[in-house]
Symmetry: C2
Subunit: 496 residues, 2 copies
């Protein structure tokens, strides 16, 4: 089935909106028109967080309604399967160091359904670092050495590469001083170590940090980057392993659908896609949610699993507290642009490259071989030189081509696949990344419940915030909280 | 409450059997004499695996009976809280790289209830390496450098420190060649690299490997050690982080009890401690379990969460298949001896040491400061020079004292705390570790179900086998399998 989300471009068909995905749910609802149910819990948002919350609640005996604005599950993590090959539209890589995600992968016995993005056995087996007009190539071992040197300088704030500052990544502010570090931007940190960096090291570390944040150096919290670094074991090798190596052979949506199917099998899951929510009203005795088209649903509790950047579109009654309102108004800064290019050059499979700071796409790797035998290159840009890829396809193709300076490696583009996360009304950006000072001020605000409404999202997870893992962490947390609470309530009622 | 398990020794009270633990359950059963219930599932064994299986099944709506031979939960992982300080009798450390464990820690919001074992801020801040009669001390940085050099030589079988041989730790035999490596013993591997090792490196790597296996070098599978190494990110720093750094402030039993309490709160958990199982009979229509004292219980499914080394004590009807029978007859080889010493020397808090191969205890670290201000040293021995610590307390004290060669650091022992895992009828050894060839032959056998009986244990987990994490992995797997299966059966019945 095709989702409304995403775009493809091919020489034959040109630009087309909508791409096929295993995550599209048909029929789009299992509610009957006449039904007037009272649910234990309504979950708003069917990304991994909402899916986890809905699944856990349903499996544990609660009557659940799942509402989603899109036509598909997965939120900011989904794949489009085109001619048998999955293009990851947002969210790709998983690792056994990501506890919540991996727990689910093992539970669904999918640990053999992952494969490596990298394959350094093909012809163009090198790293290309294009700084402005200056291009150079080096071996992947030299690439690693460059990044290790650069990132070690960048992260070594405490003589221990961050181990002393963030010893316990799930408690980011475990060391009180870390609060101050959140005020530091990536730009501040680069400025502080600039004299120690070679031009190549500087371009390598800057583009790597921006790959993580999707923002600009000035709008990237240094501490939030350090948090990723700590989760990855304080090493570049750990970052590569955990951030960009293992992906699902069948694509992210092959994983997400398991959650939905399990929930559905309980027969306690009602759902409605294409159902954006307008208003959430908590009377104290129950919660009422109103969709954009005026339908109303009622439940004892509501789990809002919407991302930070879109929460402002929903009105809450009573209104949200000042801290949360301010966090929502500020939002996060990640405007990552992810573009897949299928190119006929088979040898590019082993290529990796950076084109920075001049190019609209700045970081790319050979990510797979399509059934047609073409190479799949995944390219990342962001706020540094932001584009809306569908607005000018020729410019987007140029941004891909510009990753390659060597004439002989010029890619012959046969397909582009992408989604515009910045213009997505249900995301307004990619994965969460915070600007300086934001988390120290607002992490607690974002996590706080509001009466019978609980807020869950990867955007304010404690561990792998911004990742699928953080989404599952959060969905797990609130489902547990709601179930425990409703069980107690029922005991009180049945004993009174 | 005191458990029958464990021993303490103090100068005043001498040797005493039984230690207090939060994991002791009173009353020991919630069954009434008259009751004749039919359960959805009976879980045999209340270690982390059985606890997880029982909890998940109960929370997801099944009627569960949990049977346990001991007077306490936790199996091979439990703590004794003595005067407000937890001594870990078996199983101690946890890490966010252990996906199943950490998922539960976050779910129970216990991520701030962990603390570091190491504290390198006190007086005797060094590493002591005693090889035979030769003692030497070095800084902890030198200790790290020594271990890194030694372990890198030991693990570098593929030019990539094992990354190529075990790229995907949850699929240990992902690279077919790994099967052959399972035939190699740690001794074989040491022999192969012996010329490249200094005497200090050799003692350091051998004692570290034996710390992991609790066996002898000849009975330690090299591949199983490599599996640990791979899970730890292929580095010594990763091993230290994940294997021996973070522990619960309140002890392991403060974690295990959460599982039990959550299951109990569902009101679908029946349980009986002090109830060792004798016989498990599967009629095809139901499973009947008979306890040692002749009580019988019936269920649709049975989850055996007993360790490999004690499965031979239970008779199965129909008998188990040949592969499983052989695996049980072979067993695993870990006979770790773990002895806690509370010593009055405050400065020893920052000490770490090895006394190998001459001493009965070979590896020890300063693990904490007790409420009395004493230092808590945890010492490990194993099959290398195996002892039953309660048999000769003076010899056990000498084995502790012998860890320290420097006269000025001689510990003044005020308390010993330990459990004899080798003589424990419900364990017959410590955490799983395999002899050469065992896993390639028997991993699948151990995991296989037997009609309506499912076998779950950390001993045959795919990921963190031998760890609490592997226990939770396994409990999760079988509870999911049983629930899915029974739900389908009921649908068939209700529609027919």
């Amino acid at each position: 089935m095709d989702s409304r989300d995403g775009y493809t471009w091919t020489p034959t068909d040109g630009l087309k909106a909508g791409v096929p995905s295993l995550g599209v749910i048909t029929p789009s609802t299992n509610l009957s028109e006449s039904e007037e149910e009272f649910y234990d819990v309504i979950v708003v948002g069917a990304g991994y967080c909402g899916l986890t919350a809905a699944r856990n609640a349903a499996v544990e005996g609660l009557k659940v309604l799942l509402l989603e604005g899109r036509d598909r599950i997965g939120g900011r993590s989904w794949s489009s399967n085109i001619q048998g090959y999955p293009f990851e539209m947002g969210g790709t890589w998983v690792h056994w160091g990501q506890s919540n995600t991996w727990r689910e992968i093992v539970r669904y016995q999918m640990m053999n359904e992952v494969e490596k993005s990298f394959d350094f056995s093909h012809g163009v087996n090198h790293y290309e670092l294009n700084i402005g007009l200056e291009g150079s190539t080096m071996s992947h071992d030299e690439e690693d050495a460059l990044l290790i040197a650069a990132l070690n300088k960048f992260t070594n704030i405490d003589g221990a590469y961050g181990r002393n500052m963030i010893p316990l990544p799930y408690d980011m502010f475990h060391v009180a001083n870390a609060t101050h570090l959140d005020d530091v931007s990536a730009q501040d940190r680069i400025d502080a170590i600039a004299l120690s960096l070679s031009p190549q090291e500087r371009a390598a570390v800057e583009s790597f940090v921006l790959l993580c944040s999707g923002a600009t150096l000035a709008t990237t919290s240094f501490l939030e980057f350090m948090h990723w670094w700590a989760l990855c074991g304080y090493t570049y090798a750990g970052c590569i392993d955990m951030l960009i190596t293992w992906k699902f052979k069948g694509g992210q949506s092959s994983f997400a659908i398991k959650f939905f199917q399990e929930a559905l099998a309980t027969k306690r899951l009602a759902y409605a896609f294409n159902s954006p929510v307008n208003n959430i009203q908590d009377t104290g005795r129950k919660v009422q949610v109103t969709t954009r088209d005026g339908r109303r649903y009622h439940a004892a509790r509501l789990i809002s699993a919407m991302p930070l950047n879109v929460l402002g579109e929903v009105t809450f009654d009573p209104p949200l507290c000042a801290g949360k309102t301010k966090a929502i108004a500020t939002g996060h800064v990640n405007q990552c642009v992810k573009v897949h290019a299928e190119v006929s050059n088979k040898d590019l499979r082993s290529w990796t490259g950076v084109a920075y700071p001049h190019n609209e796409l700045m970081y790319a790797i050979g990510d797979g071989t399509t059934p047609a035998g073409n190479t799949h290159i995944v390219c990342f840009g962001g706020s540094n030189k932001h584009i809306d890829p569908e607005d000018d396809i020729d410019a987007t193709k140029r941004a891909v081509t510009n990753m390659f300076v060597q004439q002989k490696d010029q890619p012959n583009i046969e397909r582009l696949v992408f989604h515009n996360w910045s213009k997505d009304e249900f995301a307004k950006g990619a994965w969460f990344f915070s600007s300086p000072g934001f988390l120290a001020k607002h992490l607690d605000d974002m996590r706080e419940r509001h009466g019978n409404v609980l807020f869950a999202n990867s955007d304010w997870a404690l561990g792998w915030r911004s990742f699928i893992d953080g989404a599952i962490e959060e969905g797990t947390r609130v489902a547990y909280e709601v179930r425990t609470e409703l069980t107690k309530l029922r005991e009180v009622h049945s004993s009174s």
